[in-house]
């Protein structure tokens, strides 16, 4: 399956919905979206990965790049993911300590409000 991207604002947080496969072929589209959102001064991001079917290290690189961009503006990029097969690559690479990973979008937004 190809990559589908969407985004909306909820309570001042920009939520990015990602569906499909994030790999060396599709990751540039996610990178462009995150850069565009940051350029439009959206520094509080939540990336909803509940419908992501595949994620490789290229996709991880895009997420890390997005995180660094928002942090440069004192922002944050949190993830929503409960799929074990996706979480596994975050654990292998140690990135579970870098990203806030939440079970739901509401939980991720509530955590940003703290």
């Amino acid at each position: 399956m190809d990559l589908k991207l969407g985004h909306y604002n909820k309570d001042g947080i920009e939520v990015v919905d990602v569906e499909g496969e994030i790999d060396v072929y599709t990751a540039p589209r996610l990178r462009e979206l995150l850069i565009d959102l940051v350029n439009k001064k959206n520094y509080q991001l939540v990336v909803n990965m509940e419908k992501v079917e595949f994620l490789d290290s290229t996709g991880l690189g895009v997420l890390v790049g997005g995180l660094k961009r928002v942090r440069a503006h004192d922002g944050s990029l949190d993830l929503v993911c409960t799929q074990e097969r996706i979480l596994k690559i975050f654990r292998i690479t140690g990135l579970t300590k870098v990203f806030g990973i939440h079970a739901t979008v509401d939980e991720a937004i509530a955590d940003k409000d703290k």
Binding site: E21, D23, V24, Y25, R31, F54, D56, S57, T58, L60, G61, V64, G65, K68, R69, A72, R85, K88, I89, I92, T93
Partner: protein
């Protein structure tokens, strides 16, 4: 002789095809269903790495993927044709009994991240290898011809 062999032009779009073929052959070879996601991800990482190397050094050469079921293990070998002294420098050390053999003895280096304007655009190539080592039962990285082969294998379930 490999059970199935795939050759593809080094374009990112074809990495998904290689993943799908590897997963299908692994399933047919009796690899446990719970390991198929690991096969898919590891093969994708190896092919992505090969594609990036070919695009830099030999875009006209195909990437080769050989999938073999020897009755006990399912093995995937992804071979690139990029100069070995370039592609093997990001080799990682593997824990456990399976040695990772770096062609130039450069084990431990994780390569460099692609950084533009101070922002990480791409993780170091070594991260892909680290992921492979974390997923496969056995991993070997060896020079092959003018390039590099990444061989990874998984035990078959008892039938």
């Amino acid at each position: 002789m490999a059970t199935v062999e795939v050759r593809f032009t080094p374009l990112p779009a074809h990495v998904r095809t290689a993943r799908l073929v590897a997963t299908a052959v692994a399933r047919r070879s009796g690899v446990d269903e719970s390991l198929l996601d690991e096969v898919r991800l590891a093969v994708g990482e190896a092919c992505s790495r090969a594609v990036e190397s070919h695009r830099l050094h030999c875009p006209a050469e195909p990437v080769r993927v050989a999938l073999t079921d020897d009755g006990e293990r399912f093995e995937v070998v992804v071979t690139d044709a990029a100069p070995a002294d370039v592609t093997v420098t990001d080799a990682v050390s593997a824990p456990g009994p399976a040695p990772v053999v770096a062609g130039d003895g450069a084990g431990g280096s994780m390569g460099s991240a692609l950084v533009v304007d101070g922002v990480v655009q791409q993780l170091p190539a070594g991260v892909g290898l680290a992921v492979i080592v974390g997923l496969a039962d056995d991993v070997r990285v060896v020079p092959s011809g003018g390039g590099t082969s990444i061989a990874m294998s998984w035990k078959r379930r008892t039938l």
